[in-house]
C-alpha cells in the first residue's frame, strides 16, 4: 500500500506545533491516494511530549528514531540520511515536511539524495492519479504556481500556519527504534543561542504587532511591546525593513520579502507604509489591522480594518482596551 511520510520536528523533548499541520496535510493526501500516514520524528530520547496524541491528527504509524548525541541538536547530514533511508524503497508517494528553518534546510538535501524534485512552501496539495498537484507562492506571493509532480516520492515542504490541524482519530501505532550509527556528520550545531525566554518568534506567533519608520526612534518600540504584552504571551513584535536596516530592531523580526513570511491570525501594522516588499511577508495573515496617519498609505489597501491617526495616541489606547478584555 502507498504511504505518505510526514517528517516531524521536536524541540527540547516536546513535539513542535507545526508537526500537527504536517500530519494533517499528510492525512488529507493519504486519504486522496488511498494510503497510510507514517510519521517520522528524529529526537534525542524516545519519550517526546505530544507524540502519543499524533494518532488524533491521523497518523497510522509513528516512528521516533532516537539517538542521545546525534539528534541532541539539529544535525543536517544525519537527519537527511535518516529521512532518505526511510523514504527509499518506492513505498512512499510523498515526503512532507514543514517549511520551517529546519525543514527548509532538510528538504532539499533529502530531495537531492533521493534524486527527486522538491516543491517548497506548499499552500495546497492534492492527488491526480499517482501524481501530486501542489500550489505554492512565487514572486514573493504575488502569484501562485500550480504544479504537477510525477516523481516518487515527491518531496514537499508546507508553509507554516496554512494547514490548520484537524483531528481525525486513527488508532496509530508507535515505535521507538534507536539510530544505529553515532555519526553526526560534518556539519555540527555547536550551540543554539536562544532568544530570551518567553519571547515568541514572529514567524510563529498567532498575533504580530509590527512597527515601521513611523515609530520615529528605537525606544518608541516600547509602545508596541506594551501592546504585544497585553495580548498575554500570544503576540510577537515584528518590524519593517526600514527600521531593521536602521539598526532599531534585529533582522530576525523583519517581515517581508527579505525577512519572514508570516500568516498570523491577526497582524497589526503600525507606522508602516505598506511597500510591496513588506506586503509580500504578511498578506496571508487572516486579519490585518493598519494604524497610520496617512489615509492614502498603501497598507490600507490590504488592511481589513484601519485607523487613520497618530500611532502614539492610538496604540496606547488600543493597549488599554485589550487589557480590559482579558481583565
Amino acid at each position: 500500500m502507498t504511504s505518505v511520510l510526514a517528517v516531524l520536528e521536536q524541540r527540547d523533548g516536546a513535539l513542535r506545533g507545526v508537526s500537527h499541520e504536517v500530519v494533517t496535510a499528510a492525512r488529507r493526501l493519504a486519504d486522496a491516494l488511498g494510503g497510510t500516514v507514517e510519521a517520522l520524528l528524529l529526537a534525542p530520547r524516545p519519550d517526546v511530549k505530544g507524540v502519543d496524541a499524533l494518532g488524533r491528527f491521523g497518523a497510522d504509524k509513528v516512528t521516533v528514531l532516537h539517538h542521545a548525541t546525534v539528534f541532541a541538536r539539529y544535525a543536517p547530514e544525519a537527519c537527511a540520511r535518516a529521512v532518505t533511508t526511510r523514504a527509499t524503497g518506492g513505498k512512499h508517494a510523498a515526503v512532507l515536511l514543514a517549511a520551517s528553518a529546519t525543514g527548509r534546510d532538510l528538504a532539499p538535501r533529502v530531495a537531492a539524495q533521493l534524486g527527486v524534485p522538491l516543491a517548497s512552501d506548499a499552500i495546497d496539495l492534492s492527488a491526480d492519479g499517482d501524481a501530486l498537484v501542489v500550489t505554492r507562492p512565487v514572486y514573493a506571493g504575488k502569484a501562485l504556481l500550480k504544479i504537477k509532480m510525477t516523481a516518487r516520492p515527491a518531496v514537499v515542504s508546507l508553509r507554516p500556519s496554512v494547514f490548520t490541524p484537524v483531528e481525525r482519530p486513527k488508532a496509530g501505532t508507535l515505535e521507538t527504534p534507536s539510530l544505529a550509527s553515532g555519526d553526526s556528520g560534518r556539519v555540527v550545531v555547536r550551540e543554539v543561542k536562544a532568544a530570551p525566554a518567553g519571547s515568541l518568534d514572529v514567524g510563529e506567533a498567532p498575533i504580530v504587532v509590527s512597527g515601521g519608520r513611523g515609530l520615529k526612534e528605537p525606544a518608541n518600540f516600547k509602545v508596541l511591546e506594551d501592546l504585544a504584552r497585553a495580548f498575554g504571551g500570544r503576540a510577537a513584535v515584528g518590524a519593517s525593513r526600514a527600521v531593521v536596516d536602521a539598526g532599531w530592531r534585529p533582522h530576525a523580526d523583519q517581515v517581508g520579502q527579505t525577512g519572514k513570511t508570516v500568516s498570523p491570525t491577526l497582524y497589526i501594522a503600525v507606522g508602516i507604509s505598506g511597500a510591496i516588499q513588506h506586503l509580500a511577508g504578511m498578506r496571508t495573515a487572516k486579519v490585518i489591522v493598519a494604524i497610520n496617519r496617512d489615509k492614502d498609505a498603501p497598507i490600507f489597501k490590504v488592511a481589513d480594518y484601519g485607523i487613520v491617526g497618530d500611532l502614539f495616541e492610538v496604540v496606547p489606547k488600543l493597549t488599554e482596551e485589550i487589557k480590559k478584555l482579558d481583565g
Binding site: 528553518a101 532539499p108 514572486y139 532568544a195 510591496i276 488592511a303 487613520v308
Partner: protein, 250 residues
C-alpha cells in the same frame, strides 16, 4: 581562496506581476531584471573573504537566458574576477535540474567555498544551494547571517525560530546567505569600466524539463476590501468590537 558565487537573474522586487497569455509564466514585457538580492550577500561575502586573504579569485556562475550576461556583468562591476553563463532559453521549474547543471560546472573548479543565496525571489524554490552540495558531496550550511573562517574550518550562524544556531563545518563547503550577513557594496564607475574587460564564458546547455510540470500561474487570492474604522484614539473601541464580533480574532 577560490570562491564561486551562483547568481540568478530575477525580476526586480518592485515588479507588478502580470501573467502571460500561456497562463503559466510571467509576462516579461516591461519587467526590469536584477541580480537576485540574496545573491548580492553571497557576492559581497566572497569579495570580503578574498580581500582579507589578500589573494584569491571570485568566479560568478549563472544559468539563464542570453540576457543573464548583463547580470554577470553587474557582478563583475561589483568586483568578481570572471563569469560563466550556462546559457539556456528556459530555466525549468524543477530546481534539481538547475542544481545538476550548476554542480557539473562547479565540480572540477577547485573551489574552497561555493556560495548561493538562500532563495531566488522569483521561483522561491529555497533549494538549489543545498542540492548542489549534496550532488557534490560537500558540507553545507544554509541561510547564514554570520561567518567566521579559520584554517580549514568555519563557523556560521543561522536564524531558527526563537534562536540562532552556531554551526561548525569543514571546507571546502557550500554556504547559502541570508540578509544580515553583510551590507553589499555598490559598483563603482571604475568597476563598471573594468567589468567590460573581464572574462565571461558563455556555454550553451540544454536542460531536461525535470519532473515538475507547471499547470498554471494564478493571481493570489484577493483580500476583500477593508474599511477605515475611524480616526484617532476615538476609533479604538469600535476596532476592538469589530475584531471580537465580526472578525472573531480576539
Amino acid at each position: 581562496m577560490k570562491i564561486a558565487v551562483c547568481i540568478k537573474r530575477v525580476p526586480d522586487s518592485e515588479t507588478r506581476v502580470k501573467i502571460a497569455a500561456d497562463g503559466k509564466t510571467l509576462d516579461e514585457a516591461g519587467v526590469k531584471f536584477i541580480v537576485n538580492p540574496y545573491d548580492e550577500f553571497a557576492l559581497e561575502e566572497a569579495l570580503r573573504r578574498k580581500e582579507q586573504a589578500g589573494s584569491g579569485e571570485v568566479v560568478v556562475v549563472s544559468l539563464g537566458p542570453a540576457a543573464a550576461q548583463e547580470t554577470i556583468r553587474a557582478a563583475l562591476a561589483i568586483g568578481a574576477d570572471s563569469g560563466v553563463l550556462l546559457q539556456a532559453d528556459r530555466v525549468p521549474a524543477d530546481g534539481l535540474e538547475v542544481a545538476r547543471a550548476l554542480a557539473a560546472e562547479l565540480k572540477d573548479g577547485g573551489f574552497d567555498l561555493i556560495l548561493f543565496g538562500k532563495v531566488a525571489i522569483d521561483d522561491s524554490n529555497h533549494q538549489v544551494g543545498p542540492m548542489v552540495a549534496e550532488l557534490l558531496g560537500l558540507p553545507c550550511v544554509t541561510a547564514i547571517t554570520h561567518l567566521e573562517l579559520g584554517a580549514g574550518q568555519g563557523t556560521a550562524e543561522r536564524e531558527v525560530e526563537g534562536g540562532i544556531e552556531v554551526v561548525e563545518f569543514p571546507f571546502p563547503a557550500v554556504l547559502t546567505t541570508d540578509k544580515g550577513l553583510n551590507e553589499p557594496r555598490l559598483p563603482s564607475l571604475k568597476g563598471i569600466m573594468a567589468a567590460k574587460k573581464k572574462p565571461l564564458a558563455v556555454k550553451p546547455i540544454t536542460l531536461p524539463a525535470g519532473s515538475i510540470e507547471v499547470l498554471a500561474m494564478l493571481p493570489p487570492p484577493d483580500r476583500k476590501a477593508g474599511k477605515i474604522v475611524g480616526e484617532g484614539g476615538a476609533a479604538v473601541p469600535e476596532l476592538v468590537r469589530l475584531l471580537r464580533e465580526e472578525a472573531k480574532v480576539l
